[in-house]
């Protein structure tokens, strides 16, 4: 099976500034891929290119089999995206949010109805279907935002620091959702500042100063850097980063 994401020397320049320099990596189907990096290392730039939001300066990349230069529209149909500032509408109800996002991906009325029921059940939000999103606790919002991001069964879902600010139990419940999606074959591409979460990933890449400084499974990385946990690995790699400003 071909990799879901495949990049070859993918580069993005802003004038003289090389935000992302010759990134080369593959992500397999169903993999949970941790995409770490210091502030300003180029994570956001790289992620934008893969989502079809920003055209690379040079290099090659395909996402879900589509080219990031020419087939950005196709890419957008086949990926899901969730960021820290959720894309949910606060003033719409839970069900209305699901309906809206299913709608923009062109699902039929019946499919939307079935999907809404299914999601509400999965998230145990049946009672809150008619609750406005703004009234939900943060943790529930995160879970809902994730489910909405994969409502159209994308090949791959990009999660940009999805778990900020919630308690440890809720954070783990969120990861249960990620695992479940991965078991269904959805590739998960996730950035996080929680280093223990990095260890939940199948493989982790760490960006420093625009390049990928390390890429391997958490266990191998810890062994390679002779570190007790991912935090030490990260610190070892990123502490000498030159680029401090975004």
């Amino acid at each position: 099976m071909p990799p879901v994401i495949s990049t070859n020397q993918l580069t993005k320049r802003f004038g003289q500034f090389v935000a992302a320099n010759e990134l080369t990596f593959q992500v397999e189907k169903g993999e949970i891929f941790g995409f770490l990096g210091a502030n300003g290392a180029g994570k956001t730039t790289a992620m934008r290119m893969l989502c079809g939001l920003s055209i690379p300066s040079s290099g090659k990349a395909t996402v879900a089999g589509f080219d990031v230069y020419t087939q950005t529209e196709k890419i957008k149909q086949n990926i899901g995206y969730m960021s820290q500032k959720f894309s949910l509408y606060d003033d719409l109800t839970v069900a209305e949010n699901i309906r809206f996002y299913a709608g923009i991906y062109g699902m039929s009325k019946q499919a939307i109805k079935a999907k809404t029921t299914e999601l509400l059940q999965e998230l145990q939000l049946e009672k809150e279907a008619k609750t406005l999103v703004k009234a939900l606790p943060l943790g529930w919002k995160q879970k809902l935002a994730f489910s909405v991001a994969i409502v159209h069964n994308p090949d791959i879902v990009f999660l940009d620091e999805p778990t900020g600010g919630v308690d440890p139990v809720t954070r783990r419940q969120f990861w249960d959702l990620i695992y479940a999606a991965s078991d269904k074959g959805v590739t998960v591409f996730v950035t996080t500042h929680y280093m223990d979460e990095a260890e939940y990933c199948n493989r982790v890449s760490i960006m420093v100063d625009g390049v990928i400084a390390a890429l391997d499974s958490p266990a191998n990385l810890k062994q390679q850097f002779n570190a007790a946990n991912m935090e030490d690995v990260f610190y070892e790699l990123a502490r000498n980063a030159k680029r401090k400003a975004d």
Binding site: N39, V166, P168, V169, M195, Y200, A241, A245
Partner: protein, 299 residues
């Protein structure tokens, strides 16, 4: 130095409770951590202590001064870094710092020794506008701004949220050094791993305090034996261990699972082997703050 007695606060005329029955005291020169997720009530406590909010019930003092009556005197001697504080984006580093120094009636020169170590790291960019700085640099600048008038108490509301590991580590090192200057520091964070850097911590959730102690005290109070269970198929393992009848709690922690048992833990490994987890291992481990927090949440 800081004292909260039976503090209660709610918003929207009592509709939304924020914190209730909070009792807490912080000693002079202590580095005290408020640990809890968003919405736990950390910011409300900070705002009451910095005289920005009036408590509904209870009383609070900072440096011996009442937060309601003596608010003006408190304001001149505390340093405060609000959670969403983002400086003036359109002013440069130097302009921001200068501005805050003047607002607090001092100059950069006067207390330069206090911020020197931090400021030197961002000084090369002093003509850059704050909006163009990385998270870590903004955070350092914000700390400089909060310190510039040599406060006796420093209130830092989630200073490390959204900042990368390296910057966080550096930030906590800075706080240790400030502590040595004799400044009392109250800091909040949602990152459990930062708790160990504090002298004492309060674990807080949904507006009430779960526990106050030294990090060691909190860990020692963990009532059960904790085991780390590992195998190569972590996600499957999570489901298998949860199905094991004697499992009390089971949570993923990095590459392993942290498990407590209602009964005998020993038969777990054979049980897992039968389920196909042939490489499963188990060892007894010391709990961390996060284990304790989860435990307190579940009870």
């Amino acid at each position: 130095m800081i004292n909260l007695t039976n503090i209660k606060k709610s918003y929207n005329k009592g509709q939304i409770p924020a914190v209730s029955n909070i009792n807490l005291s912080v000693d002079r020169g202590e580095l005290f951590g408020l640990i809890g997720p968003d919405g736990a009530g950390k910011t409300t406590l900070f705002r009451i202590l910095t005289t920005l909010l009036l408590p509904d019930e209870g009383s609070a003092t900072v440096d011996g001064l009442d937060v309601v009556k003596d608010y003006a005197r408190i304001r001149s001697r505390v340093g405060y870094m609000p959670g969403r504080f983002s400086l003036y984006q359109d002013l440069t580093i130097e302009e921001n710092l200068n501005f805050f120094a003047t607002v607090f009636g001092t100059t950069i020169k006067e207390n330069y020794h206090l911020i020197e170590e931090i400021y030197q790291q961002i000084e090369p960019f002093k003509d850059r506008r704050a909006g163009k700085l990385s998270g870590g640099m903004k955070q350092k600048l914000a700390l400089c701004c909060a310190l510039i008038h040599k406060p006796t108490v420093l209130f830092l509301d989630e200073p490390t949220t959204g900042v990368d590991v390296v910057s966080r580590k550096e930030f906590w090192d800075m706080l240790q050094r400030l502590k040595q200057e004799g400044i009392t520091i109250l800091v909040s964070t949602p990152y459990m791993d930062e708790a160990n850097r504090c002298d004492r911590i309060a674990l807080i959730q949904k507006g009430s305090i779960l526990s106050i102690d030294t990090p060691k005290g909190i860990v020692d109070a963990f009532p059960q034996n904790l085991y780390a269970v590992r195998s190569t198929k972590t996600h499957q393992l999570l489901r298998d261990v949860r199905e094991y009848p004697d499992t009390d709690s089971c949570f993923a922690f990095g590459e392993s699972l942290h498990v407590t048992f209602k009964g005998d833990p020993q038969p777990l490994i054979p049980y897992l082997n039968k389920k196909g987890q042939t490489d499963a291992t188990m060892e007894k481990i010391a709990p961390g703050i996060e284990d304790c927090f989860i435990h307190l949440l579940n009870n």
